[in-house]
């Protein structure tokens, strides 16, 4: 149980920081061609670097600690979030933006009521994908260089050649993520998109 909590903490911190950073970077890249060109190479590198290299390098640079694990985890998920949000920002409807401009709406209002709702499908979609990615990669990170967490326990039971122990932790991980995804992200997604199927959500 403690191991599961340690693992979840790492994932949630990395997920939180990664989402905020990825959304902001992605939106900025979508809006500015110059920043897009500037970061393009980094984005490609981030997308293609083998994850295992990332974790090993992070441990070598920062030592065998949580900062290294979480940092590498963030770098793992950020590029995919950035790609999604960049596409989302490019797909913004210019007609709605023009409407908001025509009615002289303040900038904060435009972001909140016009831009953000259009980015929401991309944000929710990428949140589900990157949470499950982080959930899978954290085990690898722990297996390589942490002394607690689910990944560590799996490597421990592996060394004992204990199939039951390995599967117990593996299946628990699957179930926990499944519950989080369905209960929280799925509900969130339905709430956010109620306007698309208004007949179902009458109040």
């Amino acid at each position: 149980m403690l191991n599961l909590w340690a693992t979840s903490q790492r994932v949630l911190i990395a997920f939180g920081i990664g989402m905020v950073g990825g959304v902001v970077i992605g939106a900025v890249m979508g809006l500015s061609a110059r920043i897009d060109r500037l970061l393009q190479a980094w984005l490609l590198a981030g997308l293609t670097v083998p994850r295992i290299v990332l974790f090993v390098v992070a441990y070598l640079l920062l030592g065998l600690n949580d900062q290294a694990a979480v940092g590498a985890l963030i770098i793992t998920i950020v590029p995919t979030i950035v790609v999604q949000l960049r596409e989302g920002t490019r797909a913004l409807d210019p007609k709605l933006l023009e409407m908001a401009r025509a009615f002289r709406r303040p900038r904060s209002e435009v972001w909140l009521r016009v831009v953000l709702p259009q980015l929401m499908p991309y944000i929710v979609g990428t949140a589900r994908a990157s949470l499950s990615l982080a959930w899978k990669m954290v085990v690898l990170a722990e297996l390589l260089g942490r002394t607690n967490g689910v990944g560590y326990m799996i490597s421990f039971y592996f060394q004992m050649f204990n199939m039951k122990g390995v599967l117990a932790y593996g299946v628990t991980m699957m179930v926990v993520l499944g519950v989080i995804d369905l209960a929280f992200l799925g509900t969130w997604q339905r709430r956010v998109f109620r306007w698309r199927h208004p007949s179902a959500g009458q109040e």
Binding site: K95, A102, F103, R104, E109, V114, P198
Partner: protein, 260 residues
């Protein structure tokens, strides 16, 4: 009351692969306070571009546009587009509230009152996706009016609707316009619509967009006008002749030239 004055407005757009296209080629235009002016022209004659420049959504490359508010202070500007352009994630009532500042926002009675006047009573809590295009455009009318504009800019607001709906909505629009007394600049490619609504029709030619003719209708067609009036139909034919190329006066002279 707000008048508009445009002097020598020129707008160019760069073309793919170099060069540029002259979309609006030097337009002078004066709109009197409270006047209903219609810009009539074929597709691609730069009338939408001109409208955007007048409303401040676009900047002219040359020339200038001034909005002269008689009371001082910045005039309130409002818009209608060819499409409703409602925010689909906001309920109908919130779409009206979106264009208001501060106090009016929570004023449900004000918002519902406007919905009622465009025939949308009781639909404030619906999402736009549940409404037909015609109903959505009615909401767009309410949205344009709820700010109590000094100037209303309209870009072919009824051209995407079926003719029956459009006919009713034109009459409703005229009613609201008389009530609010705002200045209106409307773009259309429908000559009959132009002469039914306008105090003055400005006929524009294509590439580059220029003013070819002006038809002053306010004296010969007092309001309220009968949409069945055959003289209106004749006036629309005259507008079409203006569009057809040579100005009417030259056409009238042609037989004389032939005989001479």
């Amino acid at each position: 009351m707000t008048g508009i004055e445009a002097r020598g407005v020129v707008r160019r757009f760069p073309l793919e692969g170099g060069g540029e296209r002259l979309a609006v080629g030097g337009v002078h235009l004066r709109v009197e306070p409270g006047e209903f002016v219609v810009l009539l022209g074929p597709s691609g004659c730069g009338k939408t571009t001109l409208l955007k420049i007048l409303s401040g959504l676009d900047q002219p490359d040359e020339g200038s546009v001034t909005l002269q508010a008689s009371g001082g202070g910045a005039p309130v500007i409002s818009h209608m587009f060819q499409e409703p352009r409602l925010l689909p994630w906001l309920r109908v009532r919130d779409n009206l509230a979106f264009v208001l500042d501060g106090a009016g926002r929570g004023d449900t009675r004000l918002l519902d009152g406007w919905l009622e006047r465009v025939g949308m009573a009781g639909l404030g809590r619906e999402y736009p996706a549940r409404l037909s295009t015609g109903m959505q455009q009615r909401v767009a009318v309410a949205r344009a009016m709820v700010v109590e504009p000094d100037v209303l800019f309209m870009d072919e607001p009824f051209s995407a609707l079926d003719e029956l709906t459009a006919m009713t909505m034109r009459q409703e629009l005229l009613g609201l316009w008389r009530e609010l007394g705002c200045t209106v600049v409307m773009v259309t490619h429908n000559p009959l619509e132009a002469v039914q609504l306008a105090d003055r029709v400005i006929v524009m030619t294509a590439s580059p967009g220029r003013v070819r003719a002006e038809m002053r209708l306010v004296d010969s067609f007092p309001r309220p006008r009968d949409p069945e009036d055959l003289r209106l139909w004749r006036a629309s034919r005259e507008a079409v002749r203006h569009l057809g190329g040579a100005p009417v006066l030259v056409q009238d002279r042609r037989p004389a030239n032939d005989s001479g």
